[in-house]
């Protein structure tokens, strides 16, 4: 009896929860409203089954609970009923599957006039590339990857020379235009996931995958990595800024191309005049440092930056070192020179300009109440 009531209560609670829940799809920002529709169809059909069957069980529990002197019936088999139920189920299945397959057919068929850009994943940061004026992306190969050529473009490929490289984790896109995203990874599997766009795809090292969508709303959206890619996975974030085409073109024009790239200032739109530490913070976000280094003392892949500056760090070989600007500069440019005790030697070398380095160190300084006696700049 109690179980019957609980089952009914569960159904009621589930329905209530569904309608009152503040947790639901993020507001759609792409053309994939159809995906939401198939989701709703599936939800309606499965929801009906969920309610019906639970209530049926609850009814049986009340009506046919054991009573003295009452015996269960010995019904004959009921092939007809089974046939009807099978048919009904099949109808429900087709009603879900058919629209689903139609939407999928569209999903795997990018429009010919799509704007193409490439998202490159690497543990644990995003970078991007647009074709240059020739409209073609240059050839890449992991052989060419280096600190100076982080995306591994073939140095001699003429198509690659004018490619626009976005070496930080924020990319801009024009609103209202179909976009085909080419996905490439240099190390492990990743997944390009922007919840409001609904569309997504894995990045697979050794091959180029793709998917398409049309942004329908301007704004700044988070890119999440949604395929486990190691210990920094949960912090591998990037941003898509969807803006009016004119603003997008202007932004694209400001980015540097492969031929004169040589890794320019990477802080996205660091507003001029902000102080050095704020610039450093932006840089830490855009270059993906924060995937591994927290600013609140919590341990991630690497040591936290909180209280780091000015402290005495123990190295893997047992020696100690004072964390001063010189040590920090070395640790950023050639991370494996000195390894902190208890952490794996996995930080990639970053090539940063001197001012960028200064900004980062200034930022770290603000996270510590210690000071270093011998002042010095790298």
């Amino acid at each position: 009896m109690a179980l019957a009531i609980v089952l009914m209560a569960l159904v009621a609670a589930a329905v209530l929860f569904h309608f009152l829940s503040p947790w639901w799809l993020t507001p759609l920002a792409s053309n994939w409203g159809q995906i939401d529709t198939t989701l709703m169809i599936t939800l309606a059909i499965t929801g009906a089954f969920f309610i019906a069957i639970n209530l049926f069980v609850a009814y049986c529990l009340i009506r046919f609970r054991q009573r003295d002197g009452h015996r269960a019936a010995h019904d004959p088999e009921n092939k007809k009923l089974e046939g009807w139920l099978t048919g009904l189920t099949a109808v429900g299945i087709v009603a879900m599957l058919a629209p689903g397959l139609f939407v999928y057919a569209a999903y795997i068929d990018p429009p010919a006039d799509s704007l193409v850009f490439e998202a490159v994943g690497q543990q644990w940061q995003w970078r991007f590339r647009f074709p240059g004026r020739d409209g073609r992306l240059g050839v890449t190969d992991s052989r060419f990857v280096s600190a100076e050529n982080p995306l591994g473009l073939a140095p001699n490929d003429p198509h690659g020379q004018d490619d626009v490289l976005i070496l930080n984790s924020e990319v801009h896109l024009p609103v209202g235009k179909p976009i085909k995203v080419l996905l490439r990874s240099q190390d492990v599997l990743h997944d390009f996931y922007v919840p409001p766009f609904r569309a997504r795809m894995n990045l697979v090292p050794g091959m180029v995958t793709h998917f398409w969508f049309t942004p329908t709303r301007t704004g700044r959206f988070e890119i999440l990595c949604a395929q486990l890619c190691g210990v920094g996975h949960f912090n591998m974030r990037g941003y898509v800024v969807v803006e009016e085409p004119a603003a997008f073109q202007a932004w694209l024009g400001r980015q540097s191309t492969f031929s004169h790239a040589e890794v320019k200032t990477a802080a996205p739109n660091a507003p001029a005049g902000t102080d050095l530490a704020a610039q450093g913070k932006l840089l830490a976000q855009s270059r993906g440092c924060v995937a591994c280094h927290s600013d609140d003392g919590s341990a991630r892949v690497g040591p936290s930056w909180k209280g780091l500056y000015g402290k005495t760090e123990t190295l893997a070989d047992g020696s100690t070192v004072l964390v001063d600007p010189a040590y920090l500069a070395e640790s950023i440019r050639t991370p494996n020179a000195k390894i902190v005790h208890g952490y794996p030697a996995i930080m990639p070398p970053f090539s940063l300009s001197d001012p960028e380095l200064a900004a980062l160190i200034a930022y770290m300084r603000t996270l510590s109440d210690k000071t270093v006696a011998q002042a010095g700049t790298p």
Partner: protein
Amino acid sequence: MAYSSAEQHHEPHSFWTRYVWSQDHKVIAVQYTLTAIAVGLVALVLSNLMRLQLGFPGRFAFIDANHYYQYVTLHGMIMVVYLLTALFLGGFGNYLIPLMVGARDMVFPLLNMLSYWVYLLAVLVLMASFFVPGGPTGAGWTLYPPQSILPGTPGSDWGIILMLVSLLIFIVAATMGGLNYVITVLQARTRGMTLMRMPLTVWGIFVATIMALLAFPSLFVSGVMLLFDKTLGTSFFMPAIVSMGQALSYKGGSPILFQHLFWFFGHPEVYIVALPAFGIVSDLISTHSRKKIFGYHMMVWAIVAIGALSFVVWAHHMFVSGMNPYFGFFFATTTLIIAVPTAIKVYNWVLTLWNSSIHLSVPMLFAIGFISTFLIGGLTGLFLGNVSVDIPLSNTYFVVAHFHMVMGVSPILVIFGGIYHWFPKVTGRLMNDTLGKLHFWVTFLGTYAIYFPMHYLGILGMPRRYYAYDNYAFIPASAQQLNAFITVAALIVGVTQLVFLYNLVHSTFRGRPAGSNPWRATTLEWQTPDTPPGHGNWGAEQPEVHRWAYDYSVPGMAQDFVPQNSAVAGGGDDHDQKAAGRKKT
């Protein structure tokens, strides 16, 4: 047909041969069960640690990201392989197959014993990975390369090697056991026990075992190849890679190939766990509602159909993996087709309740709980199988909620139900009813509280396998409160399992004597001359079977059940009845 004196001679006497190096299927079953429960507890503790981090991020300093990923991985792997597979096949399969088909033991008792010890070895190797430098692997239970064998993933030196070696050992154990179960069902059924008279429990375990024999090789293959890539530098799954700024010497391999191999095992694995649960729950429902199972023949065919179909749906785990996108049409369709036989099973369970006489004993509570949770898990599977709906949901908490409902909670509820049900046969004593009910209510309601809301976090877009959700703007602050709520529920459920353990231990020694057939069930295991059954199960003579397993409440009979080995006329399934009818005319 006498039980030869030579056999009597074999009866073990010392403690060691009786309980440790035993070749008796009943002892091996208990060994399997207790070992599986022990590792299961480890996995449970790991899940609660993960929940602590998710509910109260950063509050527990010792759970850093490395540890979190190690917990996720071991939790998942232990639950799926070392707990559920081992418990259903090695535990329930071992105990019930010979008893239910009227055999004296498994066909190959020595092999059966070896199977357990090899399984134990696999468990120990896995546990050893907690103590090696770098700790256990944190690659996720799917162990996808390249990530699983590269730096940047915890335990990518020793942990992953031990994990793979342990899996390979496990597969050897499962193959030894599996051969035994299959041959026993095929060859050792007692007189009169036709295939279509076998209880659904045996059918479920039988088909699941065949599936295991066909699916585990695929895991073996991917495991060996991955191990080679890790230790010998081959490039089966490894393309050219620049890892952490360093170019590696791998070249030309395909990470997606691993996924195909893994899921060719992984999806059937879901049903290797589910089919025994289906079978057991059918028998629990029938027995405790005193009514024949609705549509026995359909149930058998549904089990077989599900088993066969589940080999052609694997790539529904790979809709957004980058595989050939046209596969999506095929695998979405097969996946949704499999829903039909699955739905039939659900209908037949609930239709069995109609016009029945439901005894809400503890096993029955768990059986009903299973119907409800499996229903949710099965229905949400339709979202994920329907390819375009899967696209936004894949790898989110919706998936976590789905697979916990369908292959975590549901089979576990059946395991509990099964243990409460057969415990009296194993020990001769009943488990405590009050504690059992407490255990049921907290576990059932608790899992709803944990997993129902979790679907909504997934719909929101929260990815799974995240150590923390620092400052993601699209996630409202309330999601964190919900996570805290889920964690509290998970902790309560976790602690409640201690009640079960206590009940298990306490009742083994102090439980009320049960008699030989406390549930008044028809199947053979309840008709043994001794309870617990002695060595050789049947005393002097093996039983002879005269009817199917579901003669409950047959009109005109004094009792409301007729044991399978009873020779009285009447009852039987449709075929028997028709045959009887023909005879009369």
